[in-house]
């Protein structure tokens, strides 16, 4: 530190500790819902249990004393009113369960756990009747496409935007990735809320939903990948899709399932997620399933490299064995575009 302003002020470790304790207690008491939310976002384990075991009763106590008011006022001022919502209230995604039809029958478990393999895939899921014809896109009035979802959606959306621009297609792509989100923890991030908000904000003609990388969690007490888990996941896909489509029968949701991952636990989970999305399609007019897993796999198995139409081998996946690389994301982007062109006239 510069000495030009005299000696550096110092204090004792004891007093420093007191200041830190007061600061943390102040921040905690005024932000208990945010701490609960942070706890819910942590991976399972003793730290998470300890934090939630402590923060939840404190959140109830703070609620009684209205201590969350400064935070909620700040959130309202800053335009994100629900950002500190804890888990004591039922999320919209959970509320949807009460108003939706009984869940669709989930398909049987994937025989070999490999999404996209001939045994696991139903490449032509039955489509629900749609409420209205899609509108015709022109250069003057391009198709508004919103690409959203978890981190998987980011590069896919960027590459889709590039392809659309390069081919001068009458479409405008907006990418809105919500990293770290999924359908299994709506108290952390409620996609139903987000869908309604995005539909209102962007008024897209088409929503491309790319989701699933963070959904290795139990649902309503059901083990990941069990039939009950699959049924609940499909119900949530339906709920979010309805929230996107609500108010515009011409709007379509193209739901791209996650690709075949490299490591074992995720292979089964991603396969079940793809199954669940397929199962949801017949129940929601305007919902479409896009099979990314099959065409980007090596006969149903994970592969790092993919070959483009010009014959170039592209390192298509990232180190984690889940995400596509930036260059590799052109493959799912092309698959999504082909699916869109099956319904929309894009030149």
């Amino acid at each position: 530190m510069s000495e030009e302003n005299g000696p550096e002020p110092v204090t004792t470790a004891r007093q420093t500790g007191r200041v830190i304790r007061i600061a943390l207690v102040t921040a905690l008491l005024l932000n208990t819902a945010g701490v609960v939310r942070a706890g819910l976002g942590m991976p399972s384990g003793p730290t998470r249990d300890l934090l939630l075991g402590f923060a939840r009763p404190l959140d109830s106590f703070a609620g009684l004393l209205d201590l969350n008011r400064p935070r909620s006022s700040l959130d309202a001022m800053l335009g994100h009113p629900d950002s500190a919502t804890g888990d004591d209230r039922q999320t919209h995604l959970e509320q949807d369960a009460d108003r939706l039809q009984p869940p669709a029958q989930a398909p049987p478990p994937a025989p070999d756990g490999a999404p996209g393999s001939p045994a696991a895939a139903d490449p032509q899921p039955r489509l629900a009747p749609v409420g209205a014809e899609v509108r015709h896109a022109t250069a003057a009035d391009p198709l508004r496409i919103l690409v959203t979802g978890d981190s998987l959606s980011d590069f896919d959306g960027q590459q889709l935007s590039r392809v659309v621009a390069a081919e001068h297609l009458p479409a405008k792509v907006r990418v809105q990735a919500r990293n770290g989100t999924g359908l299994t923890q709506p108290s952390v991030f409620d996609w139903s809320d987000e869908a309604a908000q995005d539909a209102a904000d962007f008024d897209p003609d088409v929503v491309i939903m790319v989701l699933g990388a963070n959904d290795g969690w139990p649902l309503e007490g059901h083990d990941v990948g069990s039939n009950a888990w699959n049924q609940e996941y499909a119900r949530r896909v339906e709920a979010v899709s309805r929230d996107f489509i609500a108010g515009d029968p011409q709007r379509r949701v193209y739901w791209a399932g996650p690709p075949v991952p490299r490591s074992a636990p995720w292979i089964h989970i991603f396969a079940r997620i793809n199954d669940a999305v397929r199962a949801a399609v017949p129940n929601v007019p305007g919902l479409r399933y896009v099979d990314v897993a099959g065409p980007t796999s090596d006969h149903g198995s994970y592969t790092d490299y993919l070959t483009d139409p010009a014959g170039h081998r592209i390192l298509a996946r990232q180190h984690d064995g889940i995400h596509f690389s930036f260059a590799g994301s052109v493959f799912p982007a092309r698959i999504i575009l082909t699916a869109l062109q099956g319904e929309y006239s894009l030149g």
Partner: protein, 474 residues
């Protein structure tokens, strides 16, 4: 575990009082702080704890041989072995897949890739390890006790993303208990609070709302938006990285330890040479002392000096990541530094005026030098940020594009970028004056004001979590 999270707050709230409680009993404090640091590291990925431990043991063994043997041959062999091991680990984890993929791509081969996740902080602790064994070899640092070296190598505030602290700066601080009556807490709180604001308010907001959309889909944005995104990235990377090292320095101060500064208002630099005295200062001096000078520095004439500058900056670029974009980033800085150095003699030889006419005020000349330097740095940042070289050129091409924008350049964004740049021009003693004012507050007022700041930062960041620090990838 990263600093601005509830997990880390819990961890530090436990470690800090225990550390001071055990401080008088050094036999207990040493294993405690070592265990705490390893726990911190294991929280990211426990597998790589073995790499850190292995690196520590190997480098301490080499340093022991270097310090205790008098035969130059043996000492040199131990030094070479240690450096080879350090760079080998870095090469395998960081560069092998990059080179394999490059060979596969250019020659159509199918060399298998390892897919090993880059161990968090490996670039930083490897550089510290190399500086330790080299300094022991040069006789500038005494051989440390094994436990002291292990603490130095793993001390959690600097373990993951620096600053790159030298053994000669840190290990003497382990000689005895730190003084619990001389904690520069106001400075520490200022660094931590400032770091939180820089990271969670400025960097994450600019990154999400401006930089990512433009670098993701450059063709969708016009020249104004692209230019603002380039400026925005300059602010984002500064606020992101300096936030981490500020917090690291602040946390270390609370534990009783001092680290060197890592940033000194870099965008006020008048030349690239000046920029590198202000940006990531601990890396700059590492590159200078362990790469540039051993290569010959400026001792072998002009051409060798330029060659050494280029090599240092290209390798510095490659240190940041295994991609051609980083090589180009380093190349721009290398060429810029060489041009700065060569310009007076070239201008003289070509009979150019070496200085601007005297009638132009010095303040104008200085301002012009700062503006040029800032824009060269921004040009290099485009390659640093872009996912690939073609995207970088696409971004540069869009700087001259017309047409309507997408509305991502809002008054708030412009204000935040301008404010983040303007803060660098505050008088040097501003922080010290604020710290002095802070310590005059009663203890409760200090605590409550810091707690309120945490609340505001949490609210502004919107509860969406903290984006990973950019330098965690390096």
């Amino acid at each position: 575990m990263i600093f601005p999270t509830v997990q880390f707050a819990l961890f530090f709230a436990l470690v800090l009082p225990l550390s001071w409680a055990l401080m008088p009993r050094q036999r207990l404090w040493r294993p405690f702080i070592l265990a705490a640091s390893y726990y911190f590291y294991a929280a990211a990925d426990w597998h790589y704890v073995f790499l850190l431990a292995g690196s520590t043991v190997a480098n301490q063994l080499a340093a022991t041989v270097i310090a205790r043997r008098s035969a130059a041959k043996v000492r040199n062999a131990a030094l070479v072995a240690a450096i080879t091991l350090d760079l080998g680990a870095l090469g395998v984890f960081k560069y092998l897949d990059f080179f394999s993929a490059s060979v596969n791509s250019s020659l159509g081969l199918s060399i298998g890739l390892l897919h090993w996740v880059l161990p968090v902080g490996v670039s930083f602790y490897t550089f510290q390890a190399i500086s330790y064994v080299v300094d022991v070899h040069r006789g500038r640092t005494a051989l440390a006790r094994p436990l002291d070296y292990a603490i130095y190598a793993s001390f959690f505030p600097h373990l993951v993303a620096g600053p790159i602290v030298r053994a000669s700066e840190f290990i003497p601080q382990l000689a005895g208990p730190r003084d619990p009556n001389r904690i520069p807490a106001a400075r520490a709180f200022g660094l931590i609070a400032g770091g939180l604001v820089k990271k969670m308010v400025v960097a994450d907001m600019i990154g999400t709302k401006l930089v990512e959309p433009v670098f993701g889909t450059p063709q969708a944005h016009n020249g104004t938006e692209t230019l603002m995104a380039v400026y925005g990235y300059a602010v984002q990377i500064y606020c992101d990285f300096s936030a981490y090292t500020d917090m690291a320095i602040g946390l270390a101060l609370l534990l009783g330890f001092r680290f060197p500064d890592n940033f000194d208002r870099p965008y006020t630099a008048r030349s690239l040479q000046d920029f590198w005295r202000r940006w990531h200062m601990t890396l700059s001096r590492w590159l200078r002392d362990y790469l540039y000078i051993p290569l010959g520095g400026n001792r072998g004439g002009s051409l060798k000096t330029y060659r050494n500058l280029m090599m240092t900056m290209l390798l510095g670029g490659l240190w940041h990541g295994a991609a051609w974009t980083f090589v180009i980033w380093g190349g721009i800085h290398g060429v810029g530094l060489a041009v700065e150095r060569a310009w007076p003699s070239v201008a003289n030889a070509m009979r150019f005026p070496t200085s601007v006419p005297a009638r132009i005020p010095q303040s104008v000349k200085t301002a012009a030098a700062r503006i040029v330097t800032f824009h060269v740095v921004c040009l290099a940042w485009v390659f640093f940020r872009a996912p690939d070289v073609s995207t970088a050129f696409a971004v540069l091409g869009r700087l001259f594009a017309g047409g309507p924008g997408t509305g991502i350049v809002t008054p708030t964004i412009v204000l935040v970028i301008a404010a983040a740049l303007a803060v660098q021009w505050l008088p040097r003693g501003t922080g010290a004056r604020l710290q002095k004012a802070f310590v005059t507050l009663p203890v409760y007022a200090q605590g409550i004001s810091l707690g309120a700041l945490l609340l505001v930062v949490a609210a502004v960041s919107g509860g969406q979590g903290v984006a990973p620090f950019i330098y965690f990838r390096f």
